[in-house]
Amino acid sequence: MSIISTEKLTRSFGAFTAVNAITFDVKEGEIFGFLGANGAGKTTALKMLTGLLAPTSGKAMVAGYDVWREPEQVKRRIGYMSQRFSLYEDLTIRENIRLFGGIYGLRLADIKTKTARLLEKLALEADADKLVGALPLGWKQKLAFSVALLHEPRIVFLDEPTSGVDPLTRRQFWELIYEAAHIGVTLMVTTHFMEEAEYCGRVSMMVDGRIEALDTPRNLKTQYDAKNMDEVFRKIARG
């Protein structure tokens, strides 16, 4: 079953078409890489999928709802984590969890049990009352991802989740992503960072507002006779 499905989704700004009739499906529990260079239209597409921007034409269904018609239904069922902003650095870990639990309307008792479970899983019990700003980058990202899962969303959008972290932390982070996918959460990873693409189940490659390729990394590498996704990207971008 498709959890995300778009049909000729298009967005123009004046004469410029940022997203040009993209059509794709994402299956439930999939880790989908949404790739493209800066300015290829990823961000605009993502805004339409999360109900922040109206499409010029076409439509997008997320978790069974038309995003533009029923954005509230969609928002309740999605989570979001970006590299730039995810948690308040001047609040403690516990306060952040409580805040985001509250924002998504969880009951206080639920927040409590979930906080305990989350802290135990990340082995952060001793640091629960420390400011998030004091945590190392890698920990912040793991925590941010866990908080994004707090309200049990069906889809989580991740924006360049592991750029700049060390290789070991990156793997620990991807294991969290695999674990979420394992229990049926759909992960949509937007990135221009090809190293991250290698970890996705399927990837789409956006160039100038269009999806130029969509397949598993393995098939793309075979198709383009490339040794890694970086090379795939270069071959697609050069046309």
């Binding site: 290789p167 793997r171 695999y178 221009h192 290698e198 990207f233």
Partner: protein, 306 residues
Amino acid sequence: MSQIILENISKSYGPLLAAQDISFEVSKGEIFGLIGPDGAGKTTLFRILATLLLADSGTARICGLDCVKEYRQIRKIIGYMPGRFSLYQDLTVEENLEFFAAVFGSSIKANYDLIAPIYVQIEPFKNRRAGALSGGMKQKLALCCALIHKPEVLFLDEPGTGVDPVSRQEFWEMLASLRAHGITMLVSTPNMDEAELCDRVALLQKGKIMAIDTPKGITSGFKSPLLAVRSVDMYQLIKDLRDMEGVADCYAFGEYAHLKFRESTTLSLTLTNEILAFLNAKNHQNIEIKPVQATIEDCFIEFIKH
């Protein structure tokens, strides 16, 4: 003689140790890579070498000049490209280049030969404001500006960040061609793949150098037998493999999991069959097993863990 010499450089910001006892040398015409994640201390080292920051202890010399006492002379012979795009966005491509040439008492004409191979690519846009350029073109312009006075030593702090793979590859090709002019280059990157494009690299983590060598030297130092394994369910695969007898480590590496055995283990068909049987028993589908060469990333993880 070494163009860049660092001896026991340390620098801390309050409790944060940004550089701990760093020593290395870079010879003329070499491309030396500082490889490490955000916060490893790469930028701190660049700033110390570019005479922007004073180290707490240790000495740094560039072309024989001391970074503290002779910083004025050093500033004349180095080119510096900071991590962030640091040109004037409201000036055009040409105006930026002219300005930096004038600052160094030079002109575009005087060193045109050096920048020509790079500049021709952005010359068609010379009347465009720098802010309106794509990431790749901004990077090329920044490189031109850093080269306009024909520096002896070039410092490039994360030039690949925010640039698409096509431009990044072109950028590295340009650096390789600059080697022919005898320019010494210190380049940093968080991207382990780029290590292979350097002559030598230092792996940096939390302000410490974990290893210095050629990329080959580093990967050949990885002694443990390594296999790449895949199956349909990556999450379960990693979990199961970690429980297997003789396995030292198991991590996801793209579509495969890298499976590291203890050093005493020898790779053999028997071992492969054992793994296959083990995974079959756990109901894994589409299993694939093959021996692999360790990458810089495998080595980096290894160094972090020890």
